[in-house]
């Protein structure tokens, strides 16, 4: 072990964090309108499946990503209808949706691709890896940021985009208003339900992209349960970042770096279990420094405790 971090490790972190970041950004849309969305895991999984299905059907990467988004939007619509219209408890609905996503993707994997476990096709191409020309000149950045898919770039752009949306746009301002005080929002004539629907669908869009990045960007295949808990980590990143785009970027990266560090430590004599714990322990420690803001309690805990 020459050094704990090297550039290829950090390059890998930038990539590995992307689906988590995208899902967290999506989750924040829901949190911001007062809906605690625990279904991120399931939504990303559906997105990952949709992307592979789309690619297999059309052979066109752009269409594949669109199909990924479309299938997650459908799922989100179900979530929205059940929580907003049928007034189901959002956590029960979210957990059920996670089960549904796991069952349905496995079932479709079997019926559509006639395989179990994983679908993999040598002929299939994943999202292209881009080397941005202007970065090629700079030695360190080149290694750090080269060879990422457009979705990776997009995710980092979305951080800025979502920031502008929340804090600078009219629509974002209204969305935040609905989350802060739905009764007041209703009384001034905002269409609260419509905005909540829009937020959940927006979350679906992000999760669709997260799924596509996972199954077409990180790898080019779909395997059962391939989200492997990333949706829950996204949930943590979302809460830790207080649904603030920059905060969520920071907390996702924190998690990513700690994960990377834990990979490095695996070679040393520390038992694997403890190195794997590292990202979680560090996130808990980080929470001592980023105290929670009150709105979180309103979205998650209180509304569901009833």
């Amino acid at each position: 072990m020459e050094q704990l971090f090297d550039l290829s490790l950090l390059n890998s972190t930038v990539r590995m964090v992307t689906p988590i970041l995208l899902a967290a950004l999506g989750g924040s849309l829901c949190a911001r309108v007062g809906i605690f969305n625990v279904a991120l895991e399931g939504l990303v999984l559906v997105g990952a499946f949709g992307a592979i299905l789309g690619n297999a059907l059309t052979g066109n990467l752009f269409l594949a990503v669109l199909i990924a988004i479309g299938s997650v939007l459908l799922f989100s619509l179900l979530f929205a209808y059940i929580t907003i219209h049928l007034r189901a408890n959002e956590i029960v609905a979210g957990v059920a949706l996670n089960f549904l996503a796991a069952g349905l993707t496995t079932f479709l994997l079997r019926t559509i691709f006639s395989v179990k476990g994983a679908y993999y096709d040598n002929e299939m191409h994943g999202l292209p890896a881009w080397d941005l020309p202007f970065l090629q000149q700079i030695p360190v950045l080149e290694q750090l940021f080269s060879g990422h898919t457009p979705l990776v770039w997009l995710a980092y752009l979305f951080v800025i985009g979502l920031h502008l949306f929340y804090f600078k746009s009219v629509a974002g301002s209204r969305l935040l208003a609905v989350g802060e005080n739905p009764v007041a929002a209703q009384s001034i004539g905002l269409k609260v339900r419509k905005i909540q629907y829009a937020a959940i669908l927006g979350c679906g869009l992000f999760c669709g992209l997260a799924g596509a990045q996972l199954s077409l960007g990180q790898v080019t295949m779909f395997s059962e349960g391939m989200t492997a808990g990333r949706g829950y980590i996204a949930l943590v990143a979302m809460m830790l970042g207080q649904s603030n785009p920059v905060g969520m970027l920071a907390s996702s990266l924190l998690f990513g770096f700690m994960d990377a560090l834990s990979i490095r430590l695996q070679g040393l004599s520390i038992p694997t279990h403890f190195t794997l714990m590292l990202p979680y322990v560090m996130t808990v420690i980080a929470m001592f420094f980023f105290r929670d803001k009150s709105y979180l309690k309103n979205t998650g805990a209180n509304s569901s405790a009833r």
Binding site: R87, G103, T106, S304
Partner: protein, 355 residues
């Protein structure tokens, strides 16, 4: 007469939701080409068909009930405990190790293991509560994160220092506990064990606690309005600590009875893979944190799972589809569309009949 009508109308809600859930399930089944009625019949048989299936359903519901009760207790006092999984795992591993290494007769081991399991779960939960109370570390996130840490730690214990070296030694698991320390089975040859009785008794005790005791009253009020509780002289810290401790202890007990009543050892991952904690959470939420309601909801959710296994065994419906049906049923049962409507009407009645 009116009373009777009201009860009836409040029953309509879950019935309609159930119907829609079953319809959604029917669509999924018809995709596989199995006759819908037969499929549902198989599900019913798999869950309740005879004593054997009934008892396996109840056995399966046992950890879910205990987890659900723990979560509901925390809810009632205003805390959202997402850490039941970690508390359960630590409880399980603590119970297993205690039963293995505690000197004494079987019954001593058994009791010590139960105590150890509850203490381990309770302390783990208390850690999160303490961080929240003292340092304002959001409970929702910390409990979620502590789950991973607990599972990895328990995994470490049975991979390294306490791993099972007998048998094939392939799995991360502890040695098997001696038979004297097992929780007795309720029926010979069936999986239902005394843990179920324990769970039901605890559900009843919690109901009584909430309804009839000073502490239960203070707990409820703290959950409903902590400021009001403080104003009334309730020691909120004490209530919180006791509730989170008990909540975690019940989760720990869930793991303990799985170990002592059914697996007889701690097997890494065997408690997390079935998603008991999430199911327990659903049971609590479906029942609005009512202990007896949580118990019933837990049995229902367990029945969906065992029913789905029956469906898979006896028809061409693949396992995945049965999980789709499960999810569809839960989704629609959680829907409260008729409920909110009825709730409105009930309140109007209350107001209308003012003294």
């Amino acid at each position: 007469m009116k009373q009777w009508k009201q009860t009836l109308s409040s029953l309509i809600h879950p019935l309609i939701a159930l119907l829609i859930g079953f319809l959604a399930g029917a669509i999924a089944i018809s995709v596989t080409g199995t006759p819908i009625l037969q499929a549902y019949q198989e599900m019913w048989t798999g869950a309740f068909g005879n004593l054997y299936f009934l008892t396996s359903t109840l056995a399966r519901s046992t950890p879910i009930i205990l987890l659900g009760l723990g979560i509901s207790l925390a809810f009632r006092s205003g805390y959202f405990n997402l850490g039941a999984e970690g508390q359960m795992v630590l409880g399980a591993v603590a119970a297993a190790l205690t039963a293995l290494y505690m000197p004494g007769s079987g019954i001593v081991k058994l009791l010590a293991a139960m105590a150890a399991g509850m203490i381990a779960g309770g302390l783990w939960s208390l850690l999160a509560a303490w961080m929240d109370a003292k340092f304002k570390v959001n409970l929702l996130i910390s409990t979620l994160l502590l789950n991973y840490i607990a599972s990895l730690f328990a995994g470490y214990l049975v991979t390294e220092p306490f791993k099972d070296t007998t048998g094939s030694a392939a799995l991360a698991q502890s040695r098997m506990i001696e038979q004297g320390a097992w929780l007795p089975k309720l029926f010979a040859g069936m999986s239902l064990h005394a843990g179920f009785v324990l769970a039901v008794v605890i559900a009843i005790l919690l109901t009584l606690l909430l309804r009839y005791t000073v502490f239960g009253y203070e707990l409820k009020i703290t959950g409903q309005n902590p400021l009001f509780a403080a104003y009334g002289g309730v020691n909120r810290t004490r209530v919180m600590i006791l509730c989170m401790l008990t909540s975690g202890a019940l989760a720990g007990l869930a793991g303990t009875v799985e170990v002592l009543g059914s697996q007889y050892r701690y097997i890494d991952g065997s408690l997390t893979a079935p998603g008991y904690a999430w199911t327990g959470l659903m049971a609590t939420l479906l029942a609005n944190s009512n202990p007896l309601g949580t118990t019933i909801a837990a049995v229902f959710l367990a029945a969906l799972q065992t029913g789905a296994m029956g469906l898979e065994r006896n028809t061409n419906v693949p396992l995945e589809i049965s999980s789709v049906i499960q999810a569809a049923l839960i989704l629609f049962i959680s829907a409260r569309f008729t409920y909110s409507f009825l709730k409105r009407r009930k309140e109007e009645k209350n107001n209308g009949a003012t003294v």
